[in-house]
Structure formats: C-alpha cells, structure tokens
C-alpha cells in the first residue's frame, strides 16, 4: 500500500491516482516472486511495466526506468 500522498508537482493524489499506484505496486510484488509459474510472472511483469508507464507519465512518481 502506497504511503504517497502527493504527485511530483505537490498535488494531492486523487482516488484514481492512488488506485493506479496500488495496482502498480501489487503487480511489482507479483512479478518479482519466483514461486509462480512463468506464465504468471511474465505477464505480471508486462502489466507492471504498463502501469509504471502510466504512473510515470502522470508524474505520480519518477522511478528508475531501466530496471524491471
């Protein structure tokens, strides 16, 4: 669960923003697990990357782009 309350511009995060970040963080955790089948890990990773892209573009955070 995110502890963020503001975006990079100092705006309060909206309910939609918080949901996006929560989705991203949940996918990030799932995609880093090693006990799940390849089909799950690979697809979670793809989905996580897409969520990273949306959150990053909206300025909700600026996380390291090179690391999956």
């Amino acid at each position: 669960m995110t502890t963020k309350t503001q975006d990079l511009l100092g705006n309060n995060l909206t309910a939609d923003d918080l949901e996006l970040i929560a989705l991203y963080e949940r996918l990030k955790v799932l995609s880093q697990r090693s006990d799940l089948p390849p089909v799950v890990v690979a697809n979670c990773k793809q989905a996580m990357v897409m969520m990273w892209n949306a959150c990053n573009d909206l300025g909700l955070f600026y996380e390291e782009p090179g690391c999956d």
Binding site: L8, V49, N53, D57, G59, Y62, P65, G66, C67, D68
Partner: protein, 447 residues
C-alpha cells in the same frame, strides 16, 4: 475530462501544465537522472568526476550547464574500448529485451543500444504522444512501410499503435507495389514512412493506375527519418498524392524514440515532448544557449531510457526553437520551427539511414586496389541514391567485378543494409586534392 477518444491529448494532465510547473517536473527528473547515471554508469561517473560535478550540484534547471556534454564520438570510443556496449549502460546486457544499432561515424563499428521492458514501453509511449496528438485513434488502421530489422526506425511506432489499439499492419517483406495494394485493400487510414518513400509509394500508385485520393482511405501520413518531413513543399506533395494530412516526427537511435512531433494543428514544426526531454539549443561553437528564433545545435537530455542515460547529448542537428504559444493546440511543448533544419557536421541522411562520409571512406580504404573514390548523392524521381565511384590502381583493373560486389556488401553491412551503388571510374576521371579533399557531392535539390 472529455471521453478518451475525443481527448486531444495523450497525457492531458502533463501536456497542458503551465511552464513553471513543467520546469519543476523537469528539475525533479533531472536530479534523479543525474544521480542514477552517476551511481550506475561508470562512463558517467568518470565524465562527471573529470568535470568536478556531483549530483548534489544540480539544484536548479540552469545547473544543467554544469554537466559536461556527451558526444557520439565519446560513446563510440567507449564501446570500442569495452565491447560490445561499453560501460555506459546501467544494467547487465542480460536484463535487456531489445537490441538495435545505427551506423557509426567512422567505419564498420555501429552504435549499439539496449533496452529493458520499461524502456521499450516508454519508447512506444513517446510515439503515442505524437500519434495521438496528430489525431490518430484506436479506430485507425495504420500501415507501416518499414523494413523491420536492426534499425530502430518505426519499431517504437508499431508498438505505440498496438498500445493505442489500432489495427497495425507491418509490411517488412513487401515490394512497393504490394504495399500500395495492401494500403488500398485494407483501407489503411494512416501510413507511416520516410517522406521520400511516401512520395515513392504515391508515384508507384499512379503507375499502377490507382488514385489514392479516391480509392484509398488515408487521412494521415506520418513521416520520419528525414528533414524533408517539415519542408512545406514536400508535405504538400505528399498530401496531394495521398489525400490526407502529413505530419512530421523526428527521433534518434540514441534516444530510442521520437522527441518531437507535429500536432494536427500543423503549426509549422513539431512540438518537443518536454516532460520527457530537456532540449537545449546552443551555439555549436561556444556552447552557449541561443534565444528563441535563432538557429543552434540541439542538445538533448532524455528522462526515459533506463539502460542508457543520455544527458546533454550533442546531436549536431540544427534547429530553431519558437515558443509553444505559436500553436493553438494548448500543449506546453515548444516548437522546432521547420523541424530539423540540417546538420552541424557532415552526416547525410539517405532514405532514413545516417551516412558519414568518413565511415564510407573507412570501408573503401580497406581495399588496397582503390586509388581514388568519390561519393555522389542524388535524387532520382523522389528517391535519394548514394553512389560510390571507384578508380582502381592501374595494375588492379582486373579486380573490378569482385571488388564491386564486395564493396556493395561491405558498405551495406556498415549502414544497416542501405543499398549503395558502386560504379567504375576510368583512370584519372575522379578529381585529386592537394589540401582538404572534397570527395562528397550532394546533388539533391535544396529546398
């Protein structure tokens, strides 16, 4: 917020930020980027240590000028010293999912780039800013006249269209005639090509007896890879042929994607995607910023590619920046009036491929049979052609057939498969030089 498909912006929140807030966002990203580059890229650590600058020195956007420039020559030298990728990269190559290359500046060695999943998603996303901004929507059918290979070209745009939900048509193995036929048959509404090739397809359609304006459904032509995309006369020719409006984009393999795009208001040049790039325009000799409306060299800093930090990279592109208010679309990205106007160096663009005369010379000079040579660039109909004329040493005349084939292959190998014409020149036919040799003739019309 308007419904998704009627929203004119890909990222309305950020594309319409007031400049002051945009600058704050850029500063935040710049600080993080410099910190990451310093701590994860040995190349950048050395560069910044040598210049006596550390990440904590970046407190304002103007502090970017404390950072030394990065050049293509430095990058290529780094790769040569530490093959294959140098120590510029921030991650082990095994973490990458994409590998692309572009022709080098001085010989056979290409410039190699790697991308992670996030990088690749970001690369597609930058194209989304451009395609959406040019009025392309999920209901469109987009045709790519592009040979999908090691050259990065329209790869990112293809993934952008998939991301947006367009029907995306690849045509890597098709002849021009087959492409024209499929564009009409599939009712493509968007065509992506270099400006030269967009014109060539139009001419081919005419020869095939196809009136693209009547039989086709193309409403947008997206061009990239050549400066001609922002030349009004060329755009008009393309629009007259296809019946849709033509929009320019420009990118670089070094960035992996586009950094500028023309919106559907067609303000006379492309907008900079400023929440993902800092584009400085500098006097190429002094390195000082030039004001709006004056020509200078583009120096780019990219926030998106994680594998390769690109900070204050000297592009050698000549541009003229004007304020974003020149356009009525509401975007905050300033505009490069007339697109990429030319080059500070001697690089030539041939059918979307970078060609450096010294790289051609390096390949030609590997063959001891050659006495003299000349590079001639011309335009045949609408297509650029590059010809290398070869004068053999008097005692090597018998080697011509073999040498011609070998040179064609070697030159193509060093230039992402670009076809070179290699022609025989008689003894004494080519000019000789006492001082600085001028072996390149660019006969293309200047607009």
């Amino acid at each position: 917020m308007p419904p998704v498909t009627t929203n004119p912006y890909w990222n309305p929140k950020v594309e319409t930020l007031p400049k002051e807030q945009l600058r704050a966002l850029q500063l935040h990203k710049l600080q993080r980027l410099v910190d990451r580059a310093y701590n994860q890229s040995p190349f950048h650590r050395r560069l910044y240590d040598d210049a006596g600058v550390t990440p904590d020195k970046i407190r304002t956007l103007d502090d970017i000028r404390r950072l030394p420039f990065m050049t293509r020559e430095d990058w290529m030298q780094n790769q040569a010293e530490k093959p294959l990728f140098g120590d510029l990269i921030t991650r082990p190559p095994a973490d990458a999912i994409r590998y692309h290359l572009t022709s080098g500046t001085s010989g056979r060695q290409p410039l190699r780039v790697l991308d992670s999943r996030k990088d690749w998603s970001w690369i597609a996303d930058m194209w989304c800013y451009g395609f959406w901004g040019f009025g392309i929507r999920p209901t469109d059918t987009v045709f790519f006249a592009f040979s999908y290979g090691s050259f990065i070209g329209f790869w990112g745009a293809h993934y952008c269209c998939e991301k947006m939900g367009c029907l995306t048509l690849a045509s890597g193995n098709m002849t021009t005639e087959q492409r024209v036929k499929q564009i009409v048959e599939m009712g493509a509404t968007v065509v992506c090509a270099t400006p030269t090739y967009a014109l060539r397809m139009g001419q081919t359609a005419e020869k095939m007896g196809i009136d693209l304006r009547k039989e086709g459904k193309v409403r947008r032509v997206v061009v990239s890879g050549e400066p001609a995309g922002s030349i009004p006369a060329v755009k008009k020719m393309i629009e007259d042929m296809w019946g849709g409006i033509c929009g320019d984009t420009a990118g670089m393999t070094e960035i992996g994607t586009i950094m500028i795009f023309e919106c559907d208001h067609q303000p006379g040049g492309p907008h900079i995607i400023e929440d993902h790039f800092i584009e400085e325009v500098l006097d190429p000799d002094t390195g000082n910023p030039v004001p709006y409306g004056e020509r200078g060299e583009r120096v780019v800093t990219s926030f998106g590619r994680g594998f390769i930090p690109l900070i204050r990279y000297r592009t050698k592109d000549l541009v003229c920046k004007v304020p974003h208010t020149r356009c009525k679309c509401g975007r905050n990205g300033d505009i490069y009036e007339g697109g990429i106007l030319g080059r500070v160096d001697d690089m030539k663009l041939i059918r979307g491929t970078n060609v450096y005369p010294r790289a051609v010379e390096a390949v030609v000079r590997e063959h001891s049979e050659v006495e003299e040579f000349q590079i001639v660039i011309s335009r045949v109909d609408v297509q650029d052609e590059i010809t290398v004329k070869i004068e053999l040493k008097p005692d090597q005349q018998d080697s011509w057939g073999r040498l011609q084939n070998q040179l064609c292959k070697d030159l193509a190998d060093a230039h992402e498969g670009l076809r070179f014409n290699v022609e025989f020149a008689k003894q004494g036919e080519l000019p000789r030089f006492e001082l600085k040799a001028k072996r390149l003739q660019d006969l293309r019309p200047q607009y």
